[in-house]
Amino acid sequence: MGKVIVVTSGKGGVGKTTSTANLGTALALIGKTVAVVDADVGLRNLDVVMGLESRIIYTSMDVIEKQCELQKALVRDRRVEGLMLLAASQKNDKDDIQPEQMKSICQRLTVNYDFVLVDSPAGIERGFQNAAAGAEEAIIVTTPDVSAIRDADRIIGLLQNARVEPINLVLNRFSPDLVKSGNMLDKSDVLDILNIELLGIIPEDEAVIASTNRGIPLVHSTSSSAAQAYMRIARRLSGQQIPIPDLHAKNFFSGIMEWFSRKR
């Protein structure tokens, strides 16, 4: 039996879909069986980010309406063994699906897949509730800015009330340079407020945008720092103990100076 993990944030555009696509692919690359589920009904784009858009015939709506079998609605990612996508309907609205129906789909997927990753829409309304309905665990994606953190905090409260546990954090679009110049909250500030376990830090990385546009998840090539960060998170999710490296600002010399000034 696999487990269902919802990838959510509260605030929009912070990297939920990017994270779902990359973590799903990364988990498959290290030998796990994975189903990624797009719960952003009406605004689906997980299929686009994964480059599978053209191959979608059925969606979760068709499964709910019993137009097709669950297994038949899954699209196989041909680039890696063991990775499937269940797309969201674009014609429908988030209110057309009940939380119970999503929960049932997720639970049926755990029979055949080690990981079921659900890409949640932004917000705290029905779309989020549908996405979270079947989840045992959650990954909160946030960027290091106060409004995203406030929304993440709100979501964590809701998930805790729903007994989702553990709730882990992915800090996305982190820029050590901006932290150093005092224009971005540091990791410790974010963790102080949210007070949940940190799963990993994804740096701000132009390679993310390029990969989004090409429909090839970043982790297919390991060269970018964001890809490496996603690979480490996937290993952590699969139970391996991998330390989280601190990201450093670019200038080596200034790093040394900072180290000295901290020692005083």
Partner: protein, 223 residues
């Protein structure tokens, strides 16, 4: 966020007027006027200590300011904290004080109050309301969260959101937090103005209504 030009803050020993460094006397006077205009009822016949963290005013300007405080606002200057006074507390980012004062009856018998312990952090969007007595939070109160108690509010963590103590009108109610950096703070019907961008001062603090009819924030040592 920029610090306000002048901050009026109450301490155990009275009011302190904290002036941001490197500003002209006209800017300062204007800011003082604005700060005092917000006071309701108006502050007067009290004494203030002028607190400057860096050399800002010449002796002559300082004299002018003192005279003006006396003549226009009826405020005595008790003393002027000199900038090289190393023991002076870092208070520039401390909460300003403000009062909306109406006479209220002390309606509560404290000893009959109950208390409720909340064993976790209160997060954005969550509210904890306990009109029957005091609230003790084993965790933080985050921005966007709200705690309200008929009695005291005690936060064994950081208070970043809203806190209202003494909702039943008990003006002896207090708010205590390990890090007192609230967005909103209210005791009885006394309200602090919204306080954005505060930094923790690294020690527990207590907010209570002081003898000068304003919310006083000071280091918490013991009850």
């Amino acid at each position: 966020m920029a610090h306000p030009i002048v901050t009026l803050r109450a301490y155990g020993d009275g009011l302190r007027l904290i002036i941001r460094p490197n500003l002209s006397i006209t800017e300062i006077e204007e800011a003082i006027q604005q700060e005092l205009a917000r006071m309701n009822p108006p502050l007067s016949e009290t004494s203030v200590q002028i607190d400057m963290r860096a050399p800002v005013l010449t002796d002559k300007e300082l004299e002018r300011l003192k005279t003006k405080l006396q003549k226009t606002y009826n405020l005595q200057t008790r003393e002027v904290a000199s900038p090289d006074e190393t023991a002076a507390p870092v208070v520039v980012a401390a909460p300003a004080t403000h009062t909306i004062s109406q006479t209220l009856m002390l309606s509560h018998n404290e000893s009959s109050e109950q208390s409720r312990i909340v064993p976790q952090t209160i997060r954005s969007g969550q509210t904890e309301d306990f009109p029957q007595g005091s609230l003790i939070i084993y965790g933080d109160v985050n921005q966007g969260a709200e705690v309200r108690a008929g009695g005291d509010v005690i936060v064994l963590g950081a208070l970043r959101g809203s806190a209202h103590a003494g909702t039943n009108g008990r003006l002896s109610a207090v708010v205590i937090a390990m890090e007192l950096v609230p967005l909103h703070l209210q005791i009885g019907n006394y309200i602090n103005p919204p306080l954005l961008g505060q930094k923790s001062r690294g020690y527990p603090e207590i907010a209570h209504i002081g003898s000068k009819d304003i919310i006083v924030v000071e280091r918490f040592v013991k009850f």
